[in-house]
């Protein structure tokens, strides 16, 4: 089965980011295909490369990045939601004359059309959060 996953909760403030990670990992282990992961609303905070939790707690953004690399996942962070919340890639930081950028390398900023496309191309679109 082809799944896409959309996550609306923010890491640490909401359990949804962790649950979605478990779901996605389980789906991949069971041999299903993940077409796209789409972070929207406060979920865009999972796109930061600067998350620094205490050592005994999981680094959720980094765990998503590792999953993306290990399984060659297409992880999209909604650009409009991200920019408002201060999650930028290098291109957007330059465009808006910001001093820094922080989007995880394994993720890309793109529009809501990617969410709709994920629905069109998948058998199931599963939402977690907020």
């Amino acid at each position: 089965m082809i799944f896409s996953v959309t996550i609306l909760g923010s890491p640490y403030s909401s359990q949804s980011v962790h649950t979605a990670l478990h779901f996605t990992t389980a789906a991949l282990s069971a041999g299903h295909t993940i077409y796209r992961i789409f972070f929207y609303h406060d979920g865009v905070y999972a796109g930061t490369s600067l998350s620094t939790p205490p050592q005994e707690e999981p680094n959720l953004p980094d765990q998503w990045s590792k999953l993306a690399v290990d399984y060659d996942l297409d992880i999209v962070v909604c650009i409009a939601s991200a920019l408002k919340r201060g999650i930028l890639d290098e291109r957007e930081a330059k465009r808006h004359d910001k001093s820094a950028f922080n989007l995880a390398e394994s993720m890309e900023l793109s529009g809501l059309g990617q969410l709709v496309d994920a629905g069109i191309q998948s058998d199931r679109l599963v939402t977690f959060g907020p």
Binding site: T6, L8, H41, A80, L112, L115, D117, P130
Partner: protein, 124 residues
């Protein structure tokens, strides 16, 4: 406009009141984007989301975008399948006569049927 390779049935369930959280606004943005993809699109207003349908909203006083105006624009995007939960309106003392856009009233059993007839259900 992108060409749909297979038409899917999307239901957007708007459950959150406007302005206190951005999620209602982001739900409407997502549904407007979906409207551009020529899919089968329905919207159900329930729980506190029924308050999105109230008229005379003046969010400019709190520097927010007017979500009622965005909802009124849905028909321009050919989004005409708008449903509202009768029970959720009654619980909040809102008459269906006071809604700012035409909607079809649904009882709970009808909502179950609506859910059963979708390919994707997105909650905001």
């Amino acid at each position: 406009m992108p060409e749909a390779c297979n038409k899917k049935r999307f239901l957007f369930v708007m459950r959150t009141a406007p302005y206190g959280s951005s999620i209602a606004r982001e739900g409407i943005d997502a549904l407007l984007t979906c409207a551009a993809y020529d899919q089968s699109l329905s919207v159900l207003f329930m729980n506190d989301g029924v308050t999105l349908l109230l008229g005379k909203q003046n969010p400019q006083h709190i520097a927010q975008k007017n979500l009622q105006k965005m909802i009124s624009a849905l028909e321009l995007y050919d989004v005409n399948e708008l449903y509202v939960s009768q029970q959720c309106l009654s619980k909040r003392g809102i008459s269906s006569d006071n809604l700012s856009v035409p909607t079809k009233l649904l009882h709970n059993a009808d909502i179950n049927t609506l859910f059963d007839n979708q390919d994707f259900i997105l909650h905001f």
